[in-house]
Amino acid sequence: MSLPKPDIDQELQQECGQELAPEAVVAIYKKPSQLKEIWRRMRKNRAAMIGLTIIAVILFLAVFAEQIKPYSLAVNQNVKIRLQPPSLAHPFGTDGYGRDLFARCIHGARVSLSIGFTSATLSLVLGLFFGSAAGYYGGRADTVIMRSVDVIAAIPSILMALAVVAALGASPLNLILAVSFARTPAVIRVVRTAVLSVGDQEYVEAAKAGGTRDIRIIRKSILPNAMGPILVQATMSVAQNILSAATLSFLGLGINPPTPEWGAIISESKEFMRTAYYLMFFPGLMIILSTLSLNLVGDGLRDALDPRLKS
């Protein structure tokens, strides 16, 4: 690998107008060039780029859903045009109430993706908090947190989500809580391992010796360097959470009709399975494509962050 190190050194030194200690130079230019390097490796990974493109298209559809097909088409019933097969006017066809399935799918993307991303963010926040506490402090904090994680992880995540929904009732907010709560143990484990792996590095020791506050050390020194595997886990979490949320909605325990959500749309399509298979095919395809593309991006990110793993 030929990084243009000397040039950057010189530029930096010229900018600063003085000679920098070599360590200082390393510290300053390490970050942007590292990101650039990761991005460069990502770009070479065809699968990851396909994934990125697909997820970008789905995100685009979700963001501009209103401009492409107004929400009214997705919820207003029109019995005159019910159960029409795919056509130019209705690319995915219409459902049993005469609603445009394409409109329902792209507005469903808003719901499904927001649930996926919000719940992943929530479990990431919880995971970062407990995981870095366990990894950084070790000792009793570690034991208590990790034993609890072991217990929670023993409950299959979908059953855990079901328990939360059973207790709180089916609603979008509860669905997010349920899904993210079920995912959190896995995130805690990954964060803890990542924090442990950088925790005994010298710059952390140096920060500790310098009397820096723990929160600051974790935030400034540990987490940025442990971010790689955590980021991969977060990407995969979004995919997994979309799947879990769709499953709960399919069971009628998540988002309820008429709100368009991919799992809920599939659930509704059950009664027309024989006559209008496209009703379950397209929302399923949306789930598969978004999960697949997020997994591809996650895989690509992992390979880019740790090229050793690639053969």
Binding site: D150, A154, I155, P156, L168, M280, L292, N295, S311
Partner: protein, 307 residues
């Protein structure tokens, strides 16, 4: 011995989550229109006026000493009898799907690692990527449509004969087969790169002995752990499959239980399922130790020094 704290922990967490249910169980039993007196009486009978920890202790005591997990609101029979009736069915579905996933995923994964970069590698790998992204309920519906409704090869619902299990097994097992394929492949690739594989070749070992004797044994060790984890994922995933194919297992009962606000039923089922999962993961860990001489030695040494 780890099973006891985990059992306690699991039941406590499930109990705690379900105990915050806003819906009043007495109202559930009486239906709307029960008088306040009646509601209070039933709450007292069921112990709902007691503090939370006391209720958990009572629940645990009854469950362990009397095998009594309470009475189902919807069936008016004991939760335990319902579980005993339905658990074997869920268990059967899970074991079938897990066996299917392992029987399909592991050999193909190993093979594609051995034939890395050939078509035998790329095709299964790409398929596995897709399959791992498919929700089990959707795959189940597609299979049901094609093989049960169109071709009429298998029944779409119920558990009337062995044929009824074919589609649920494949629908539930397929995404996990994909996952095990990917895992087996990467484990095998990792193993093939090890120095001892080169040593075996340097001894003049024929290629098939290198792969099937030296590499496979080492590559299978981590796969065993994944099988344990997948058991619990499949048992959980069975909820959707059972509901879809109308299989009277424990999973579908949890779903109806939640809809009917049948809290004792839901609680009992989830606790039992979770304990089974943690038990299986524990057994798999022990199995791992038994097969891996490195860990086995640690155990026997400890025992030796303890004696």
């Amino acid at each position: 011995m780890l099973i006891i704290p985990i059992t306690l922990g699991v039941s406590f967490i499930v109990f705690a989550i379900l105990a915050i249910t806003p819906g009043d169980p007495a109202t559930m039993i009486l239906g709307i229109g029960g008088t306040q007196e009646e509601i209070d009486r039933i709450n007292r009978e069921l112990g709902y006026d007691q503090p939370f920890l006391k209720r958990y202790a009572d629940y645990l005591y009854k469950a362990i000493v009397k095998q009594d997990l309470g009475t189902s609101y919807q069936f008016k029979t004991t939760v335990w009898s319902n579980i005993r009736q339905r658990l074997p069915i869920s268990f059967k579905v899970t074991i079938l799907a897990l066996s299917f996933a392992s029987a399909v995923g592991i050999p193909i994964g190993v093979l594609s690692a051995v034939k890395q970069y050939s078509l035998l590698d790329t095709i299964p790998t790409i398929m596995a990527l897709f399959l791992a992204a498919i929700p089990t309920f959707w795959l189940g519906m597609m299979l049901m449509l094609l093989f049960c409704l169109e071709l009429r090869w298998f029944p779409a619902t119920g558990i009337s004969s062995w044929k009824s299990y074919v589609m649920p097994t494949i629908g539930l097992g397929m995404p996990y087969a994909a996952q095990q394929l990917r895992f087996a492949r990467s484990s095998m690739l990792e193993t093939i790169r090890q120095d001892y594989i080169r040593t075996a070749r340097a001894k003049g070992a024929p290629e098939n002995i290198v792969i099937w004797k030296h590499a496979l044994k080492n590559a299978l060790l981590p796969i065993i752990t994944i099988i344990g984890v997948n058991f619990s994922l499949i048992l959980g995933g069975a909820v959707a499959t059972e509901t879809l194919f109308s299989i009277p297992g424990l999973g579908s009962m949890v779903v109806t239980g939640i809809k009917m606000k049948d809290i004792p039923m839901v609680m009992g089922s989830i606790i039992v399922l979770s304990i089974i999962c943690s038990f299986v993961i524990l057994v798999v860990d022990l199995l791992y130790a038994l097969i891996d001489p490195r860990i086995k030695a640690k155990y026997t040494k400890r025992r030796r020094s303890a004696a």
